[in-house]
């Protein structure tokens, strides 16, 4: 019997998401990634004496979008507070965050842990705005080095209710959140750049118990794989303690990626006393209901809504709709093409197999598509009209997808125009039959391979530009006569 059968696993997530802004949360310094150390800083990022914070309007809008997209209540009055602690990458000696009065409260997310399973509604306690710290580098030095480029970068922290019951569900929840926030343009959510980081609170209790067990928090999980592995490992570790009759002691853990295991960073005895209080350098953040509605009006369709619409209005299968809405860029591209073409299911078939296949082959995502979706629709329309074969489409696609262009022009340039002229094709079939009277006789004697041989001849003559079905029909018509 494994741990999750003996115990109920309770997981709560806290996710830090970097907002997609040009400048920092409270200063006009640039937000960048990979720049030389201490280049994107100004007096506030360095907490120079006399420096003051002023709030970035776009960061507020993005945070509100995040709240609306996750069904939160947007609070018209929220307060920035100081979280006080000393650390070399925290220049002011406090982080400006929100504490008692966050921007968003009481939302939820529907999470499907695995294909075919029912969606679970996971509660969101709150979403608040805060600034990021800088970076301390410890590797291979006698001392530590501090880079403050990241100091003050805008974040939201999404705090989930402890509604999750497995590592798998937790990861699905993270994926869903990331997908939505990317969709909404709230964040690029690039985990390798630290734009989407997660802390997981894990506790176990006996099935049927209502009180929560003692929790331990795993900090800074920066990939889905590590999140799953760390949570699973922590569940096993806590089960082992409880099995042995022990008690879990509250602690903060880190996850050692190389060793693949959690380690204790801080125990409860030296728990922090952050002395939160309202930041007197800032006034309350107030939003009118009108402003909130105006932001709501600019929200793109949520992925779950779009999926439903693709199924109902475009008649796509659920699985296909899911794949096509996985990224907003792909969904937008597909939708324009489908509308332009008029037969969404045909377009979906081509996108799912050939377009995604080409992207996979090059390890790119939909943002790499240079082909206008209208041109893609046109290409498929040419095939519908018999002016290019399916094979021809496949021949042209890689170039068109990544370089763009008018498919009709390219099709001519490459001489891939289908032989659709009936008279031309009929003449060709007649000529091939005349040149192969011996094969005709074999057919008449019952040798069915003879038909394939003749088919091959005709197709070779057209260099593949003829529709095989039509060639076959013509041949049969003449042979049977």
């Amino acid at each position: 019997m494994n741990a999750s059968e003996r115990y109920e696993v309770v997981i709560g997530l806290e996710v830090h998401v970097q907002l997609r802004t040009q400048s920092k949360l409270f200063s006009t310094a640039k937000v960048g990634f990979g720049d030389a150390p201490n280049h994107n800083v100004n007096e506030l990022c360095l907490a120079l004496p006399g420096a003051l914070p002023v709030l970035n309007a776009h960061a507020v809008e993005l945070a509100v979008r995040a709240g609306l997209a996750t069904h939160c209540r947007i609070n018209t009055h929220s307060v920035f507070a100081r979280k006080n602690y000393f650390y070399p990458d925290l220049p002011k000696g406090y982080q400006i965050s929100q504490y008692e009065q966050p921007l968003c409260s009481a939302g939820w997310l529907d999470v499907i842990a695995a294909e075919g399973e029912a969606a679970q509604r996971i509660g969101i306690t709150r979403i608040h705005m805060e600034e990021d710290a800088g970076k301390s580098l410890h590797e291979g030095r006698a001392g530590s080095a501090v880079d403050l480029n990241r100091s003050g970068v805008p974040l939201i922290e999404v705090v989930f209710e402890p509604d999750l019951r497995s590592a798998r569900q937790a990861v699905a929840c993270l994926r869903t959140l990331r997908e939505i926030l990317r969709y909404m343009g709230v964040s690029d959510g690039d985990m390798e750049k630290g734009q989407f980081r997660c802390d997981a609170n894990v506790s176990l209790r006996r099935h049927g118990e209502s009180a929560l067990g003692t929790r331990r928090e795993i900090k800074n999980l920066n990939s889905f794989r590590f999140a799953a592995a760390a949570i699973e490992q922590e569940v096993a570790a806590q089960a082992e303690i409880l099995d042995a009759g022990g008690a879990v002691v509250q602690a903060t853990l880190g996850y050692d990626v190389d060793k693949g295991r959690c380690f204790v960073m801080r125990s409860k005895e030296n728990a922090d006393d952050y002395r939160y209080f309202p930041d007197p350098d800032l006034l309350p953040l107030k939003l009118t209901q009108q402003r909130i509605e105006a932001i709501r009006a600019t929200l793109p369709e949520l992925p779950e809504q779009r999926r439903a619409r693709f199924e109902q209005d475009l008649g796509l299968r659920a699985d296909d709709a899911r794949v096509l809405t996985a990224s907003r860029t792909l969904a937008d591209w597909f939708e324009v093409a489908a509308l332009a073409h008029g037969a969404p299911q045909t377009v979906a078939k081509w996108v799912l197999r050939d377009v995604l296949g080409a992207l996979r082959e090059r390890d790119r995502d939909a943002s790499a598509l240079a082909l206008q979706p209208e041109h893609f629709a046109k290409l498929l329309a040419l095939q519908d009209a018999g002016r290019i074969t399916a094979k021809g489409v496949r021949q042209l696609l890689p170039e068109l997808l990544f370089e763009g262009g008018d498919p009709e022009t390219l099709l001519r340039a490459r001489g891939l125009e289908a032989v659709s002229d009936s008279a031309e094709l009929e003449a060709l079939v007649t000529r091939v039959l005349d040149e192969n009277t011996a094969v005709q006789k074999s057919y008449a004697a019952g040798d069915t391979r003879a038909l394939n041989f003749l088919m091959g001849k005709v197709m070779r003559e057209t260099r593949g530009r003829a529709d095989p079905q039509r060639v076959r029909a013509l041949l049969l018509g003449k042979l049977e006569r």
């Binding site: 007096e43 360095l46 907490a47 120079l48 004496p49 006399g50 420096a51 003051l52 914070p53 002023v54 709030l55 100081r82 006080n84 000393f86 070399p88 220049p91 002011k92 000696g93 406090y94 530590s144 501090v146 006393d273 002395r275 939160y276 209080f277 930041d279 007197p280 350098d281 800032l282 006034l283």
Partner: protein, 487 residues
């Protein structure tokens, strides 16, 4: 012998008539400083060469008829907690040893934009924490009226430099009385504007919800001219008022007819107030009544809790504001002896801060810490609400409040250093203006044993001009502000 420098109004006239030049004024400043500042210790980091250069440029502007403002070419000293690009800003603390600011305070930008010539920085209590300018790493400043007494604080250097006639104008900062109390002790005029009137950008924060930069000068009129230049909205300070710059000097018409002056009855009930102080305040109000004002008694029942409220709120905010002084990015750093970064922090901050700063950081940290927040910090915030209601009610009945600036005249150096609480009690009449955001001005209203006494006038928030108009009206009818210390 260098004469004390004249008031701003007189200097403007001298410059306009060509009797003097900006260069001559700067020379006057440093000649006077050479003579008296050895004893007073008011100026830090004099900018002799730079100031003379800037004065020459101002003179050239004047010759070309391109003056920027009435302050063009006027020398001014600024408190050491207001940053200027390329200049030191030590806040009179060891922990900012060697620091030079790469940016200028908005107030400094406005002064320079107006053509004023910044001649020096002034001594202060470390990080503006104190009421005597004794808590300075550079040693105490002294009171021009009596060298064994303090000039008050924390803007003691600014007030004493104006009083001694070294500069006609100075900037101070006022968190709980730090402009008004030293102005009172030194016999000059000092004003804490309405909270938000002057941008705090570039003012090294002590308590952000209380701090204000303000003018110190020889007269209410001079203060008004300087405040008009300093004031105005600033997108760089979230707590700055969105209002345009003041034109308060235009409001100084000497007319106080019909003005209602409120006298808080709680003043007389405050322990330790000198009878002389009360008498002089009453005489000043009587003078204004002769000019057409009338007085009435008002009640501010929660003012007796104001000082305790102030010390809890200001130290809590300070404990956060002073966390940035950690020896990482600037200033003094002590060695860590290889024990990690925490010992480095502790040694840096323990050696870098003086006792009063440490005491206030500890008090503020304690007031915010787990288990005490509600009893101390939150309770003080609630008292602040009650105090504001008192003042709003009082201002229903009167236009300004008149009260002493301090319970006693200047005390002796060393007299209160061992007992922090008795030092704090000197702020009892000044902290309410900070807690309620109201404008307050201190102006000379008499002497006790040869030491100046201050009348404090408070107005409704935003009514800075009213307060200055009443102060100016009094000065048109009195000569206390024209007295010079016996230097």
């Amino acid at each position: 012998m260098a004469a004390p420098i004249a008031s701003l109004i007189e200097l403007c006239a001298d410059l306009e008539s060509g009797r003097s030049s900006a260069v001559a004024l700067v020379e006057n400043v440093f000649a006077r400083a050479d003579e008296v500042d050895g004893a007073l210790q008011t100026l830090l980091h004099p900018r002799r060469a730079a100031a003379l250069e800037e004065a020459a440029v101002s003179d050239a502007r004047r010759a070309a008829g391109r003056l920027r403002s009435p302050l063009d070419g006027i020398p001014i000293a600024i408190k050491d907690n207001i940053v200027q690009a390329g200049e030191p800003a030590s806040c009179a603390s060891r922990i900012l040893e060697g620091y030079r600011s790469p940016f200028s305070a908005t107030a400094v930008e406005r002064l320079r934009g107006a053509g004023a010539v910044i001649v020096a920085r002034t001594n202060m209590d470390e990080f503006a924490m104190g009421s005597s300018t004794e808590n300075s790493v550079r040693g105490p400043s002294r009171n021009p009226w009596s060298l064994e007494r303090t000039p008050g604080g924390s803007s003691g250097g600014s007030a004493a430099a104006v009083s001694a006639g070294i500069v006609p104008l100075a900037l101070g900062s006022d968190t709980g009385g730090s402009i008004r109390q030293p102005a009172s002790f030194c016999g000059v005029v000092g004003m804490k504007p309405t909270y938000g009137r002057v941008s705090r950008r570039g003012l090294v924060a002590f308590a952000s919800s209380l701090d204000q930069i303000g003018p110190i000068a020889r007269s209410a009129r001079d203060c008004a001219l300087l405040l008009d230049v300093l004031s105005g909205a600033d997108p760089g300070d979230s707590t700055a008022l969105p209002e345009a710059a003041l034109e308060s000097h235009r409001a100084l018409d000497g007319d106080v007819s019909g003005l209602r002056i409120g006298l808080p009855k709680e003043i007389r009930e405050t322990p330790g107030v000198s009878p002389e102080v009360l008498t002089k305040v009453e005489e000043a109000v009587a003078e204004l009544e002769r000019a057409g004002a009338r007085s009435l008694e008002v009640s501010l029942p929660h003012t007796r809790f104001a000082l305790a409220t102030y010390y809890l709120i200001s130290t809590a905010e300070a404990s956060g504001n002073l966390a940035r002084f950690d020896g990482v990015r600037y200033g003094f750093r002590a060695s860590s002896d290889g024990g990690g970064v925490t010992p480095m922090y502790e040694r840096t901050r323990s050696a870098g801060f003086g006792d009063e700063v440490k005491r206030r950081i500890l008090l503020g940290t304690f007031a915010l810490s787990a288990g005490y927040y509600d009893a101390y910090y939150r309770k003080a915030q609630q008292l602040r609400t009650l105090l504001l209601r008192d003042f709003e009610a009082a201002f229903q009945h009167c236009d300004v409040l008149a009260l002493p600036t301090t319970p006693q005249p200047a005390f002796r150096i060393g007299e209160k250093t061992g007992e922090p609480l008795s030092m704090y009690l000197t702020d009892v009449f000044t902290v309410p203006a900070n807690l309620t955001g109201a404008p307050g001005v201190s102006l000379p209203c008499g002497f006790q044993d040869g030491l100046p006494l201050g009348l404090q006038l408070m107005g409704r928030p935003l009514e800075d001009a009213t307060v200055l108009r009443v102060a100016d009206a009094f000065q048109r009818r009195s000569e206390y502000h024209l007295q010079r210390p016996p230097l």
